[in-house]
Point group: C2
Amino acid sequence: MSKTGSFAIELYCSKCGKTYALNEIHQLCECGAPLLVRYDLESAKAVLSADTFRNRPANLWRYKELLPVADDENIVSLGEGMTPILPLSKLGRKIGLPDLYMKDEGVIPTGTFKARGASVGVSRAKELGVKKLAMPTNGNAGAAWSIYSARAGIKAEIIMPEDAPKITRNECAAAGAELYLVRGLISDCGKIVAKHVKENGLYDASTLKEPYRIEGKKTMGLEIAEQFDWKLPDAIFYPTGGGVGIIGIYKALRELKELGIIEGKLPKLISVQAKGCAPIVRAFEKRKEASEFFEDSQTIAFGINVPKALGDFIVLKALYETGGTAVSVSDEEIIEAVKELAANEGTFVCPEGAANFAAAEKLVKSGFLKETDRVVLLNTGAGIKYPDTLTAEVPYLEKMV
Amino acid sequence: MSKTGSFAIELYCSKCGKTYALNEIHQLCECGAPLLVRYDLESAKAVLSADTFRNRPANLWRYKELLPVADDENIVSLGEGMTPILPLSKLGRKIGLPDLYMKDEGVIPTGTFKARGASVGVSRAKELGVKKLAMPTNGNAGAAWSIYSARAGIKAEIIMPEDAPKITRNECAAAGAELYLVRGLISDCGKIVAKHVKENGLYDASTLKEPYRIEGKKTMGLEIAEQFDWKLPDAIFYPTGGGVGIIGIYKALRELKELGIIEGKLPKLISVQAKGCAPIVRAFEKRKEASEFFEDSQTIAFGINVPKALGDFIVLKALYETGGTAVSVSDEEIIEAVKELAANEGTFVCPEGAANFAAAEKLVKSGFLKETDRVVLLNTGAGIKYPDTLTAEVPYLEKMV
């Protein structure tokens, strides 16, 4: 069995610090907080440099020393990662941010960034001998975990709100997952999953209830660093629901810094939420350490309709420690941004991704960002997964005889 | 203006051989056949080797010396290309082809391989000063050309059958294209486009009516060669509608051979069609040089519902000269293949892509392929663009109190 060379050594609690062995199944810490993977960065430093990664295949497994999978044969991959970074020159100039970029996570298996967490999460589940997993989802994560589980030969039970994007149902069903709908929110689905996990001894793949999905999301941060030739941008915008991506990016950048591969100040991390579901924004404005459940949440950006995230305190820490901020935008602003991005830059993005652009415009106006800033917007998914965001009235032409 | 180093020197007719200047707009040859791009491969040979491409960014512009764009600033890119090649180990073993792979063109901007032709085609249109283009489409090509035209600042008029995938309407509309629907087939749309082109002096971006789309498709062949370390597989399966992809792959492999970058026999090229629209298969069975219009064509694999392709004679030549073949599969076999691929390999593909797998199974049974063959199936698009291929009956669970 060929070894990946992973420097992962143990799990540790993001809140109380308690450690757990890596070669056993662990979900949350006894204290109820998420577990994270610790790497032996001291040893890794002696081996890894920017050059290590340069000539490897263009997928996230190029960073396998900084991922938690021990054996190559457990890697479950569909070629995910190294998504493009696109200059948004026209719109950037228009809003006063000429050095504006989008990292486009629509160009990835399943069409959303959820593929990263699923690839690494399912790989580790396979390595740990998991036979069946369960998770609640707003659609895209469930689709990705179904697809990767199918490739791994693991059974997946997926529970999603009936309002989740329809296409994600098809993906789960095609992949042979056991799929259920609920008339409610992802938090309602989560309660049912918790019950099933307990009753049937399943592996709980809920957001942050297993420690490996975040390691997959981490690779977005590693890639941003490498794609800008290890010179970091000034700010990274991230549409925040469960917040795993922003936690992952923050973890990636800190690890790279400890390895000496990057230097200087970290980018300002900026959480973008919908006005109809903005628990992190509310908490940030009051400088709270954690968020409160956002009652009656509603937004067309379904992927960030998460009224209370388990990892909220880590997200907020990332914002505070990088000098970032949290911004909310309206559904109208989101739809307008979807259109502006497609018509001007040819980037047809999901509502969550478009929210970033609306938020960036606000932060230029407010003076938080300045014209010389290099700014990266993280688009989390392809617009084609959201057929109902826009409606087109299309005229007919008659056939010629 | 920084130069790409392109070795393109002229256009030539695929039928009569007449040549045309590269720096002018040309559509079809005077004789009515498609024009192709000729490169100065003699000069290129002195400069290019496999090593030339090794360390370049993972998109199709890594092959810019073998593409027709002269100036870097005319490149219109969304990061397309270097799509993953995935082993299909489980299903390969099951059907008696253990060395089976899929090149997954779902992992590309707009979710289909049409992005390649659009990126190169629109880039050249920009370089030639085109202000407005027009094209008929079965949906995905129109979406891709709309998106890339938006990025380039070119106006696009797109005409598609009303049965084309709904999501492609949204893509065109979001990108600001002038979109029309027709109650008919792509051939009916083509007639209207021809009229508009003539009346309004538009650039005709119809399949093979401009010479550059095929150069974009060519990069699939270049990538397959590079991704297998310049040792070619034994067969490549390609779902054939207009056939530009197979023509492009054939052109790519012949150019690489002339450059001395690859050696030996070319892979058998295999055209896959739906039983309900199989003009190439009919022509191939009778060893004809060209196909006949396939009356009352119908298939769920909408992208290959092309009753008569302008480049049919080039497709057939590619099949004959590589010792390939043409196979048709039923819609039922296609749907079954979509399910098998998703449930076993985690690859959720479009019906056109799935048709390849059904065809491969047939060609193993018939003895055309042998167990030791290395075979590549080209999946032309993501399953998520086809929400109606599969229907899922999903049970509900009650909310917990």
